[in-house]
């Protein structure tokens, strides 16, 4: 049996939920594949994985996988995940969000989860658009592109999700694309294994809502664009900033070590039990 078939049997709710809901060629399915391969490599038990999502096309991922799965409210996935992780730190909690979900309505939870270094893995499916609701611009829609709420072209500057994550304090930040699907496996794997708040930004394509409005062609065309415009972190270092204009820098942007919230909280518990309350001091 091919490896992937084994993974399908092992991880997918394959007998009920497929074919899945996404449009033909949608990058979300590819990310789902990378996710299960990455999880498989980590060796974690299915019972110990909690997959949490927000609302959006990407938010439908949990339905398809045989973990503890949770589809929350729009933008709030990280808050639920924080509760899960702090309540039971044995669980490996992975959070999937769309760009709108994570950075528009959910932007605040994102930067705070990063700042606190909650031991979670955040995978952000950045397709530059609100896919689920039909193609409105998102905070990652580049300047000048079109969307159903930006028919005269978008005038807002885009957020760079990974860079925001770095500033907010994430200890692991990687960026990949769905085209570079194997890199994705490893980025996700590393983020999961990382102790602390790990972020993987995945450049995906929504050819149906975003591609169509911007005449970017089919899923294949948009994946070719990813292929042709990605540069690795190393390459990027050798390039001038003009050359980097419009390119996607892929690879690991940050990998550093900082104490996680849970460990710090263990110290709080110790101090609490020692009665070292300032209330009494």
């Amino acid at each position: 049996m091919p490896e992937i078939t084994k993974l399908i049997y092992k991880y997918l709710r394959h007998d009920k939920k497929f074919p899945h809901v996404w449009c033909p060629g949608c990058g979300t399915g590819i990310i789902l594949g990378a996710l299960i391969r990455a999880i498989d490599r980590t060796g974690y038990e299915k019972d110990d994985i909690v997959l949490v999502s927000g609302i959006g096309c990407s938010g439908r991922i949990p339905v398809y996988v045989d973990f503890n799965t949770l589809h929350t409210t729009h933008g709030r996935a990280l808050t639920f995940a924080t509760g899960i992780k702090l309540a039971n730190s044995n669980l490996n909690v992975i959070v999937i969000m769309g760009d709108g979900d994570a950075i528009a309505i959910g932007g605040n939870h994102f930067i705070h989860a990063a700042r606190r270094n909650i031991d979670l893995t955040a995978i952000i499916v950045n397709n530059n658009v609100y896919g689920m609701t039909g193609g409105q611009y998102s905070p990652t829609t580049p300047y000048g592109m079109r969307a159903t709420t930006a028919v005269y072209s978008n005038i807002e500057q885009e957020f760079k999700i990974s860079e925001l994550a770095v500033t907010a304090g994430a200890v692991f930040v990687g960026r990949g694309t769905v085209y570079h699907a194997k890199l994705l496996d490893s980025l996700i794997e590393r983020a999961i294994l990382k102790k602390g708040f790990g972020v993987v930004e995945v450049i995906s394509h929504c050819h149906i809502q975003y591609g169509k409005q911007n005449l970017l062609g089919s899923a294949v065309d948009m994946m070719k664009w990813q292929r042709d415009n990605a540069v690795t972190v190393q390459e990027a270092k050798r390039m001038k900033s003009e050359e980097l204009e419009g390119r996607i820098i892929i690879g690991v942007l940050v990998d550093k070590d900082l104490p996680i919230y849970q460990d710090e909280y263990d110290k709080v518990r110790e101090r609490a039990k020692e009665g070292l309350s300032s209330l009494e001091g």
Binding site: P19, I30, H180, K182, L187, V220, A230, G251, L253, D255
Partner: protein, 113 residues
């Protein structure tokens, strides 16, 4: 961004260059299954097969046209958004190679064409 200070190279980054593997000498080292009930005819597998193994039928679905050329690289499989195509390598050696990948998974692998 202080990217320089904290960032780390994905190893094997140079592999982003096109596939340099020689065409396999023996025929049909792999077995390719296309599960039509899940396939949505997006064409991704066909477009990105580095060996031109796959082609599109008149309804837009992929089919195996040139199995002999297949290197079992698995790119069609992992880029399929619908888990509708699977590749089984019949050569033990390749399996092992892919196992190796598992041990050192950080590289940006062969990016196909």
């Amino acid at each position: 961004m202080k990217a320089e200070k904290v960032s780390q190279a994905p190893e094997g980054a140079s592999e982003i260059a096109p596939d340099k593997q020689p065409k396999p000498k023996r025929a049909a080292v792999t077995k390719i299954d296309i599960f039509k009930a899940w396939c949505k005819a997006c064409g991704i597998c066909v477009a990105f097969c580095p060996k031109g193994v796959l082609a599109i039928d008149e309804e837009g679905y992929p089919f195996v046209e040139d199995l002999d050329s297949c290197t079992g690289c698995g790119w069609c499989e992992i880029r399929c958004p619908d888990f509708a195509i699977t590749v089984e390598s019949r050569r033990k050696r390749r399996r092992v190679e892919r196992k190796d990948e598992k041990e050192a998974p950080q590289g940006i692998p062969d990016a196909g064409e």
